[in-house]
């Protein structure tokens, strides 16, 4: 298990991570969400031991990551910027990975290469961005590490390649129980691929939970009350939280945290004439949670 406890990381006066605490279970596919500059990449770099935190602790299976070569062998980090390998050919990069990771498996490399058929003796600097990304991902999978960190991994891949890469990751999850941590702006992809998601904003965790419990627990409600109702009127309703309430004529639209049953009960308590409850997509949840965290994007 990965434990990040009270970690602060500064760049100059800027807090990239601000007393951040997060736990990631072994064997899960963790989706890391956040606005631009939220601290996602910084977090992944700290996890892979590229940076050291200013304070707090980062451990994997209770062992600190930084300056620990034995532990680093268990982690492969696919950075969003693949510049470090551009002087190499794929063959050279593969050999580099092989010398560093004892768990490297040539058979895995060959079978993945068979699918993507990337040129072996061309410099990566001559590859397109997407091909470069594919090259690093197959090296990462061939390293057969316990932890695979992917920073915006699907970006720059075309849909067919994304599908192929996801299938490779799915095999790695089933065959080796690899823990995958993936940051992305593509919420649909995270929604499909991950079982746990975390949202960070300004270096802090907004939430980190199983995807099903995130998604099943926040709803859009359309209803109509006989009398005008405000957010505060629901203060006494059990197990729900009104995130927003907008009325237009006699129709009221709300965003509510809570189960369908509890929401229905609360609406009935206010004598709602009808009540349509629709679960929010991850994208909508993202927007509402970010708004709650003071990230206002609205252009009225």
């Amino acid at each position: 298990m990965i434990k990040i406890q009270n970690v602060t990381k500064k760049f100059g006066a800027q807090n990239a991570l601000d007393n951040l605490t997060l736990e990631i279970e072994k064997g899960c596919a963790y989706g890391l969400l956040g606005s631009n500059g939220a601290g996602k990449s910084t977090l992944l770099r700290l996890l892979s031991g590229i940076y050291i935190q200013d304070s707090g602790s980062i451990t994997i299976d209770d062992i600190p990551v930084y300056d620990n070569p034995a532990l680093k062998e268990k982690i492969f980090f696919v950075s969003d910027d693949t510049a470090q390998f551009t002087g190499m050919t794929l063959l050279q990069m593969k050999d580099f990975v092989k010398t560093f990771y004892k768990t490297y498996n040539e058979e895995v490399f060959n079978s993945l290469w068979e699918i993507l058929k990337l040129p072996l003796d061309k410099k990566l600097s001559d590859f397109s961005k997407g091909m470069r990304r594919q090259a690093v991902v197959i090296c990462g999978l061939s390293a057969c590490t316990e932890y695979l960190l992917l920073d915006e991994a699907f970006d720059g891949l075309d849909p067919a390649m994304r599908y192929a890469v996801k299938q490779m990751l799915i095999d790695a999850i089933i065959d080796r129980g690899v823990t995958v941590i993936i940051s992305s702006h593509n919420l649909k992809e995270i929604e499909e691929f991950c079982d746990t998601v975390g949202l960070i904003h300004e270096g802090k965790v907004i939430f980190s939970r199983e995807l099903d419990s995130v998604k099943g627990n926040i709803h859009k409600v359309q209803t109509s009350f006989p009398e005008e109702v405000s957010k505060e009127d629901f203060a006494d309703s059990d197990n729900i939280e009104i995130l927003s309430l907008k009325s237009s004529g006699s129709v009221t639209a709300l965003v509510v945290k809570g189960s369908t049953e509890d929401i229905e009960k609360a609406m009935e308590g206010k004598n709602a004439r009808f009540c349509d409850i629709i679960p929010l997509s991850l994208e909508e949840i993202f927007i509402y949670e970010m708004k709650g965290a003071g990230y206002n994007y609205e252009i009225d």
Partner: protein
Amino acid sequence: MFAIQISGGTPISEQLFTHISELIISGALKENEKLPAVREVARELAINPNTVQKVYQLLEQKGFTYSLPGKGSYVKGRADYQDELRQSATEDFTVAVTKALKKGLNTEELINIIKNIGEKE
């Protein structure tokens, strides 16, 4: 293979569970038929295998399937999930009746509707 359109806010696991249980109830998946392996489903839909595994466990828990260690999940007979069907039918019915009452139908009218449907079936 399962053809689900992953969309909207309903959790993927819920969509997959509904889809497979409907296939079982309708008889499209027959008693003792083997469900596709977790890997097959996960790869095909490009979704997390843990999600598929969870759905398979729930199907077993609800009496829709049984599993043979090392072999996979198989569809159970109708008698085994009849209780589950009755319970979910009762829930659906309760919701529909509550809505109809709110919209102004009275119990007598509802009983007549039930009788009419019953005669046709």
